[in-house]
Structures are given as structure tokens and as C-alpha cells.
């Protein structure tokens, strides 16, 4: 058969020299089962770790007896909190400047919290030994309801924190103008009020979290094999936590089986693996099982939102929202330092409002910590969910079609750059155009007719709309850092004497296809085939510093760095070409792949000839060093603001409440598209995760604080049968400040689709019940949807 492997360059066939559809270079190893994931790492003498976890959500630890476990013939060591104290590793900092117990010493604060770490000769024996550890607990009342956590008499969860007298995780945070918002509401002619719970979910990458830690006792070198989304930042954190010299820590990410925000934080198991390797003097592998992943690592959402939206003269004018954020037992929310509620205050969405105000109160509960951005830019999913649910509610309150109300209230194209009521500067957009494209693909007016026809036949059909705007690509160093680290990204480009190139980046793919798309950026800028460009990533010893991949920041930030470093190389190539062609640099013009003399296209120097010259014995231009390479650190001047119009069509079984997503139309504007195939793939995946969150996914707790969804039997994800054939469309509005005009797309579909599906389900129930059903919280699973249909929607706690 024709095989792309026969390509002499070892690349893929039909590769454009630059942007355009191109099959992925990284596929070669994956389709052969030759990826190199964390659990594939095997080192000589490697031991295996396992974590003992608490059966209680809140309990004092009276005693821990590890003697029987230590007596197990295959156990090398057992580590508990007091052992970690001697290493200074008992507590670790979270991304949000809180502290989290690595192993619980005083008390456990959430169900399945880490209590002891066993290191054994093999993984089965490590599990056996867990059962031999005796822990005596004194059970305390658990708080799993964040409203109850704020009661004056509520048991104190964080008694480890000096001066902490209540369960508030941080001071209430606010954005916008309260007085102006009050004024706008005073003048409004329509106001809607809703209480909305964006329920707790989990990103669930198919590969769970884990690590192989290899501390060499002779050299003091610590090698860490760990699939995480921000390897450089992790290295700095380990240096700080463990007091190890940063230059002797090397993180190797290899291949990562999905991240979706779950692999941003540092987890107790990681610190245990490192401590275990120090204690045991051998490499230690720790790989969590699925229950550990679901029940203890970074959850997402859990925002309870009380909101009002108002209109005057048929247009939306004001928004207010007060949030209680349930952070669990430790505040390890992913967010830039100055943004304690992440980017939630982009909550005014795509609308030109007169005023808005929001507050966020963060609370500790006896639930697992997290608050990660599940395919989301720091709480933007919650923000978009809130505003798009509220707009839908307001439209029906006003008896106006929800698209019509959006069209009347959108930021207009001539208003960009647009200052939002809560302080964001949107870069570019033409929202009306994108909304119309979605309406055309959907056949919107016919859908409304079909809905009525179905109703007459006793069938429930719902139509959902969203128009989202995101701010992604964190971010400008003047505004954003995480743990004091600027949110910039580096790139290092070396063009070899033969004209082939290696570009090293700080972004960390978890499946996004960087080995292909980042090569395409260099190809676009330098005219070298992407097949002749290697993208190096995932090794902190061999790549420049940067903050990694999450919040759709790879293309906006790291992609910017790659474009900038390519242009630096191109500029250097121009000086060399001038010398080669015996002319002045300013007399040269660029066409993809070569500098040529203005007015004489035939006289020029191709990039590979320039590269050969740069490394040869020929004289360089005055003051210029030999070689053809460059470094760059990209500091984005602003976030980018991708947006999109989504329309969902659902059918709801009147007898069971089962929701079937029949159609999903997604029109995304993510600016310039590097590789449309990869963009479409990102959108497909994000929509599916949105379907999961809207219809299936839920992490819930019983009154004792037990996590009720700690396996895939109880935490439901969409299969191929729950997903429709997605109908995609696009508009392209380039980002004016990004080097290649791109805005980022990975999370957009996962941000835009949950409210779209919720709106669709509620729309179906609204029509079915003649307007009586006005709201239900996601997930719209059969039980909850059926209850809502009967007028008994579950309250938001």
C-alpha cells in the first residue's frame, strides 16, 4: 500500500510549506503502539509505590502502625507524615498559595486523602501491604455543602492554618462597578434571577496521573518522568518544595495520554514518589488507579452562582452575580496570582453591557481539592455558562427569540478593541457574522417550526444557543504570573548547515499535535518543509523555560514565541544573504524560503544556502556570529479572544427524561488556523467533553463526605453512541496583536457547549411544560431531567 513512511525525509506526505491541512508527524509512533507514556518507563532497580487513603472525609488521626506492612518481605519502605516532616516535605504549596498535606498527619480532610506511601518490589505487593497498615481514626463531622461550611458553628476544617477561624478560603473577591450596576438595574424594564450550580466534574484524561522519580544518591541528580502540562514550572516548584538545586532536577514528560487541566497541579503522590526515591535510594514508580484519579486529583467547577441579568428597551444592559466557590479541603485552584477567581469576571460574555458586578467567595469543605481548569482558561467555562444561561432566561422572560436578543446586545465590530464592564480588552470580532453562519447551517427557523410540530405529536425537542467569547493565552507578564513565574514561553530555533531545523519549545503537548503544528509555524516563516523541522518538547534540560500548555495558551503564547524566533532567524539570514549576494540587507526582499534582490528575483539565496554559508568557513558580515539560530521569549501584549456560535438540537424522552443530542452546530472563530485538520479535531474533542459535562458527568458526595463517583461505572463519559456527527463552520477574524493572527481553540468547544446543551434541554422542557420549567442544573441526566420535567429540579445545594 502507499505508505507515508516511504517518504525519504521520514515525514508525512502532502505537507504544505506552512499553514494548511497536514497529517500529523507524531502519529507514526502512536499507531504502532510505540508511544512512551509514564507507565512505559522502566528503570533498573525500580520500585513501586502505592498510597493508603482515608476512608473518612474528616477525622483525626490517632495513630498509624506500619510495622506489619514493613514486615512484608517485598516491602522496601513505608512513608508517613512524620517521615516527610524530617525531609521537610510534609506539606506542599498549592498553585494558589495555600498549603496541602502531602500525607495527612494531624487529620484527614477529605475522603480518600493520602495517609501513607508504601514502596515495594512490585505493584501487586505494594497494594497488599496497604492492607497491613493500621490507622486509628477519630471521626469528625464532615461538611460537603459549601453553604453549611459558612455557618458560624460549622466545624473548622483548616485548623492547621494559623489564625484561621472559619471555613473561608480567601477574602471575597470582586470585579466590576457595584454602584453603576445598581443604577442600571434600577433603570431596567426586565430583570431575571437564577440560582445556578455549575456542578463538580473531573477532566478524566484516559491516562491517569503518576510519576517515576529517580534520585541518584551519588550525584544528587533527580530525574522525574511525569506527564504534566507545565514541566518547567513543576521543576521550579520541586526545587522550592524539596530544597533541591533546580539545575539538578530534570523533568521528562515523554508522551502524555491527555491532560485537560488534570495534569497541571503537583499532587501528593508526586512528592511521595520523590521522597520515596530519596528514602529508598532507588527509582520509584507511582501510578494512580482510576478511582484515585477521579476522587482525589484536580476536580473542576463547583461554583454556586446567584445571578441577575437585566434589559432595557429590548437590549441587555446589566449583570450581577455572586458566587460561592467550593474549593474542597485545600485551595489548589489553578489561576494566575492576581486573579483569585481565575478569569471568571469575563462573565459579561459577548455583550455590550452598561455595567456589571461580580463577587466570588471561596470556601473550604471536606471534599477533594482542585478547582482546575477542565479544558478551560481559569473559570471561563463557569463564566460563559452563567452568562449564556442568563441570556437564554432573559430572552424567554422578554418573550424574544434568544438569538434576536443576542444580536441586539452583541459588541459591534466597530467597537473593537472593546473594554468590557469588568476590565477586559477584547481584541477583535464580528459576532453577528458568526451567529448568522451558525443559523444558516442549523436552518434555525425551520428548527423552531419542527419543535412545534413535534410538540403537537407529543414529542419533546429542544433547541439551545450559545455565543461565547473567551480570553485565552495567559498572559502578559505585567498582569499575570503563577507562583511568581511570568506566564511567558520560550523558543529556541537552530537551523542546521543542511537547512534542516530543530525548534525547542516550552509548551507541552498532551495530544494537541505540537510536533506538527509548531513545525508548520516555522515552515510558514522560513519556508523550510515541516518534515524537515523537529519540534522538541517535554525535557526541561533541553527546552527553554515557559509555563506550559493549558488554558488554550500553546498557540497564543508558545506559538507566538516560535513565530518570533523564526523571524529572528530570518532577520539574521538576511544579513548573511546580503553578504553572500554582495548587496545591502535593505535591498533584499523575502519570499517564503529565500531572500532575493529587489528588482531581480533571479538573484537570491535560499534559506538552506544561507544556513550552509552560516556554518562554513566563509566570512560572516561584520559583527555577526556564525551559525543560524536564535532564542526568544514571548510576552503576549494581551490575551486573545476566540469566540463562537453554537446551536444544539436535543430530543428528550417524555417517559424517561433521557436526552439525545441529535445535532450540534459549532461555528468557531479562532483567528488564523495553522492546521485546519487539527483545529477540527480539537473542536470535536471539546464538544464531546462538553456533552459529557452537560448530560452525564458529575462528582457528588453523600452526607458523610464519601465521593460517590469514583469509578467509570459511576462517572459517566460520552461514548461514540452519545455523540452526534458534529456540524462545523468557521469565520476567521485574525488576532491583531498575535504574530500569526491566531487565537487558540483547544478549549473553546468545551467552554461553549455545556451551556448550549443545557439551554437546549431547558428549552425543550420549557416548551413541553408551557413555560413552567425555567431552569435545571447540569448534568441533564435522565433522573435529573425527569425530575425537572415534573417541576422538581434538584436545588443548587
Amino acid at each position: 500500500m502507499a505508505s507515508w513512511l516511504s517518504d525519504a525525509t521520514g515525514g508525512v506526505t502532502d505537507a504544505p510549506i506552512g499553514f494548511g491541512r497536514m497529517k500529523r508527524k507524531e502519529d507514526a509512533r502512536f499507531i504502532r503502539g510505540k508511544g512512551n507514556y509514564m507507565d512505559d518507563v522502566r528503570l533498573p532497580g525500580m520500585l513501586h509505590g502505592a498510597l493508603l487513603r482515608s476512608p473518612y472525609a474528616h477525622a483525626k488521626i490517632v495513630s498509624i502502625d506500619t510495622s506489619a506492612a514493613l514486615a512484608h518481605p517485598k516491602v522496601a519502605a513505608v512513608v508517613i507524615a512524620k517521615d516527610l516532616e524530617t525531609l521537610g516535605l510534609a506539606w506542599m504549596p498549592t498553585i494558589s498559595y495555600d498549603t496541602q498535606a502531602v500525607l495527612a498527619g494531624d487529620k484527614v480532610r477529605f475522603h480518600l486523602q493520602e495517609v501513607a506511601f508504601v514502596i515495594a518490589l512490585d505493584a501487586y505487593s505494594a497494594q497488599d501491604a496497604l492492607a497491613l497498615i493500621e490507622v486509628e481514626y477519630e471521626v469528625l463531622p464532615a461538611i460537603v455543602n459549601c453553604r453549611k461550611a459558612m455557618d458560624p458553628g460549622a466545624p473548622l476544617i483548616r485548623d492547621d492554618k494559623v489564625g484561621q477561624t472559619d471555613n473561608l478560603a480567601s477574602p471575597t473577591w470582586e470585579a466590576g462597578d457595584k454602584a453603576a450596576t445598581d443604577r442600571v438595574f434600577g433603570e431596567a424594564d426586565t430583570i431575571v434571577t437564577r440560582d445556578i450550580h455549575h456542578t463538580r466534574v473531573h477532566p478524566c484524561p484516559m491516562e491517569t496521573c503518576g510519576m517515576v522519580a529517580d534520585m541518584n544518591p551519588t550525584t544528587g541528580q533527580l530525574n522525574i518522568y511525569n506527564g504534566n502540562q507545565a514541566p518547567h514550572a513543576h521543576r521550579t516548584v520541586y526545587a522550592q518544595v524539596a530544597g533541591l538545586p533546580e539545575h539538578r532536577i530534570r523533568i521528562l514528560c515523554n508522551d502524555i495520554g491527555g491532560g485537560f487541566g488534570n495534569k497541571v497541579p503537583v499532587y501528593p503522590g508526586y512528592v511521595c514518589a520523590i521522597a520515596g526515591s530519596i528514602v529508598a535510594g532507588a527509582p520509584v514508580k507511582w501510578i494512580e488507579d482510576r478511582s484515585e484519579n477521579l476522587a482525589t486529583t484536580g476536580f473542576a467547577r463547583d461554583y454556586i452562582m446567584h445571578s441577575q441579568l437585566c434589559a432595557k428597551n429590548g437590549k441587555i444592559t446589566g449583570l450581577r452575580v455572586d458566587v460561592i466557590a467550593d474549593h474542597g479541603a485545600f485551595d489548589s485552584t489553578a489561576q494566575p496570582t492576581k486573579f483569585p477567581a481565575g478569569f471568571f469576571h469575563i462573565v459579561t460574555g459577548s455583550y455590550d453591557l452598561d455595567a456589571a458586578h461580580c463577587t466570588v467567595t471561596a470556601v473550604y469543605t471536606n471534599k477533594a481539592p482542585g478547582g482546575v481548569a477542565y479544558r478551560c482558561s481559569f473559570r471561563i467555562t463557569e463564566a460563559v455558562y452563567l452568562v449564556e444561561r442568563m441570556v437564554e432566561a432573559l430572552a424567554w422572560e422578554m418573550n424574544v427569540d434568544p438569538i434576536e436578543l443576542r444580536m441586539r446586545s452583541f459588541i459591534r465590530p466597530e467597537q473593537f478593541p472593546y473594554e468590557s464592564a469588568t476590565g477586559w480588552t477584547y481584541d477583535s470580532g464580528d459576532y453577528h457574522k458568526t451567529m448568522k453562519v451558525a443559523m444558516e447551517i442549523a436552518g434555525y427557523e425551520d428548527l423552531r417550526k419542527e419543535q412545534q410540530e413535534k410538540l403537537a405529536k407529543g414529542e419533546i425537542m429542544g433547541i439551545g444557543i450559545t455565543f461565547f467569547t473567551e480570553g485565552v493565552g495567559a498572559g502578559p507578564r505585567k498582569h499575570m504570573d503563577i507562583l511568581g513565574l511570568a506566564m511567558n514561553d520560550g523558543a529556541d530555533l537552530r537551523v542546521h548547515p543542511s537547512g534542516k531545523a530543530v525548534v525547542s519549545i516550552s509548551a507541552q503537548t498532551q495530544g494537541q499535535g505540537h510536533e506538527t503544528t509548531f513545525a508548520q509555524i516555522v515552515a510558514e516563516e522560513l519556508g523550510i518543509s515541516p518534515n524537515e523541522i523537529t519540534v522538541r518538547h517535554g525535557d526541561t534540560d533541553k527546552t527553554p523555560y515557559g509555563l506550559g500548555t493549558y488554558g488554550s495558551r500553546s498557540t497564543p503564547v508558545s506559538g507566538g514565541a516560535v513565530a518570533v524566533v523564526s523571524r529572528k532567524v530570518r532577520d539574521k539570514a538576511r544579513l548573511i544573504a546580503a553578504r553572500m549576494l554582495e548587496t545591502r540587507p535593505e535591498d533584499l526582499a523575502w519570499e517564503k524560503g529565500r531572500w532575493y534582490v529587489r528588482g531581480d528575483v533571479s538573484k537570491g539565496a535560499a534559506i538552506e544556502d544561507i544556513a550552509e554559508y552560516a556554518y562554513s568557513g566563509s566570512p560572516m558580515p561584520e559583527g555577526l556570529e556564525g551559525g543560524l539560530d536564535a532564542q526568544a521569549v514571548y510576552d503576549p501584549p494581551n490575551l486573545t479572544y476566540p469566540y463562537g456560535a453554537y446551536i444544539a438540537v436535543v430530543d428528550i424522552d417524555p417517559g424517561t427524561g433521557h436526552v439525545h443530542c441529535r445535532r450540534f452546530i459549532a461555528v468557531d472563530d479562532c483567528g488564523v488556523r495553522i492546521n485546519p485538520m487539527v483545529v477540527d479535531g480539537q473542536i470535536h474533542g471539546g464538544l464531546t467533553e462538553g456533552i459529557g459535562q452537560a448530560l452525564m458527568e458529575l462528582i457528588s458526595f453523600d452526607e458523610q463526605g464519601n465521593c460517590m463517583n469514583a469509578s467509570f461505572m459511576d462517572y459517566l463519559l460520552p461514548t461514540a453512541l452519545e455523540c452526534p456527527e458534529f456540524e462545523l463552520g468557521e469565520t476567521v477574524t485574525p488576532c491583531p496583536h498575535h504574530p500569526i493572527g491566531a487565537k487558540g481553540v483547544g478549549e473553546s468547544p468545551c467552554v461553549g457547549s455545556p451551556p448550549c446543551l443545557a439551554n437546549a434541554v431547558i428549552d425543550g422542557l420549557r416548551v413541553w411544560t408551557n413555560g413552567r420549567v425555567k431552569h435545571m442544573d447540569i448534568p441533564c441526566n435522565p433522573a435529573r431531567t425527569w425530575a425537572a420535567m415534573q417541576g422538581n429540579a434538584a436545588p443548587p445545594q
Partner: protein
């Protein structure tokens, strides 16, 4: 206990603990790392391999249950340096992103094409139903369906000399 089986046509025999799962046998004893695992409850399909040509979840099969049987994994798809059409189809149609579920999805697709009486006329539902024992968080399944179709069409064309 001693367990013997064939994996991708090669004989394997090891002294193992009776409780050892097949997925661990394949990964640790046969040292074939292409078969991954994703859950412990038979829900995600990441660990799917073929036993005597039929897809099974190797995370909930004891290695001992494979005694004397023929196991096929992702590593067995490529023959003599030529990719199986299912592998080529996944590449052509962008049916993988992180690659973690890909081995299970590909061997399931291979099984479907082999057992279907008329592979070029499979319905969407038939393909989706066949892969619904597996979870993928990256692709939304759209391109996996297309990849399986691509492979079926390629094989049909090859069989009639169309290539």
C-alpha cells in the same frame, strides 16, 4: 503458576502469580507496552486486545484465562513493515490525538471490518456501537468512525485491484 499463550503469533510462557491480569502480563512479561490501561472496571476499553480474534478487555481478564489462546495486540497489526489499513486509516483521518486509546480503538476496528459481512456498507450506528466499549477524550469519535470506513474502503479497493 505457569501460563502459556501466543501473542501476535509468538509463543510466551511465564511463571506468574495466579492473580496477574492479562494487561499486566502483556505489558510486564511480554514487554509489549502498546496495550495501555485506563480504568479498573471494564468501562474505558483502553486495554482491549483480541483473544482468538474477539475483542476483550485485558484489565478484567486474568492472564491464566488466556492459557492456550491466541492474543493479538496493536504491535501485531503492522506486518513486514507494512501498516495495516486500520493504522493507515487512523493516520489519514486524524483519528488520534494523545494516542492513549488508539491501540484499543484500532484492534476493535480491525475486528469489526473482519467480522462484518459487508464492510464497505457498514452503517454509522454499527461502527459507533462497535467502538462504544471504548472511551476517547480527544477525538469525539467522528474521525475514528471515518478511519474505520477508510480502512474498509481501502481493503475493498485493494481486493478488486483498485490500488
Amino acid at each position: 503458576m505457569q501460563v502459556s499463550m501466543s501473542i501476535n503469533g509468538q509463543a510466551h510462557s511465564h511463571d506468574i502469580e495466579p492473580r496477574m491480569l492479562l494487561v499486566h502480563y502483556i505489558r510486564e512479561m511480554a514487554e509489549l507496552h502498546g496495550t495501555h490501561w485506563g480504568c479498573d472496571t471494564s468501562n474505558c476499553g483502553i486495554c482491549v486486545v483480541l483473544m482468538d480474534g474477539v475483542p476483550i478487555k485485558s484489565c478484567t481478564t486474568l492472564a491464566a484465562q488466556a492459557e492456550g489462546h491466541e492474543i493479538s495486540t496493536v504491535e501485531g497489526l503492522e506486518k513486514n513493515g507494512v501498516l495495516d489499513p486500520i493504522q493507515q486509516g487512523f493516520h489519514e483521518m486524524h483519528a488520534l490525538q494523545c494516542g492513549f486509546c488508539t491501540p484499543g480503538m484500532m484492534v476493535t476496528g480491525r475486528w469489526l471490518i473482519d467480522k462484518h459481512p459487508d464492510p464497505t456498507n457498514m452503517t454509522d450506528y454499527e461502527i459507533r456501537e462497535a467502538i462504544s466499549g471504548g472511551l476517547c477524550r480527544c477525538t469525539g469519535y467522528v474521525n475514528i468512525v471515518k478511519a474505520i470506513r477508510w480502512a474498509a474502503a481501502y481493503e475493498a479497493a485493494a481486493a478488486t485491484g483498485g490500488n
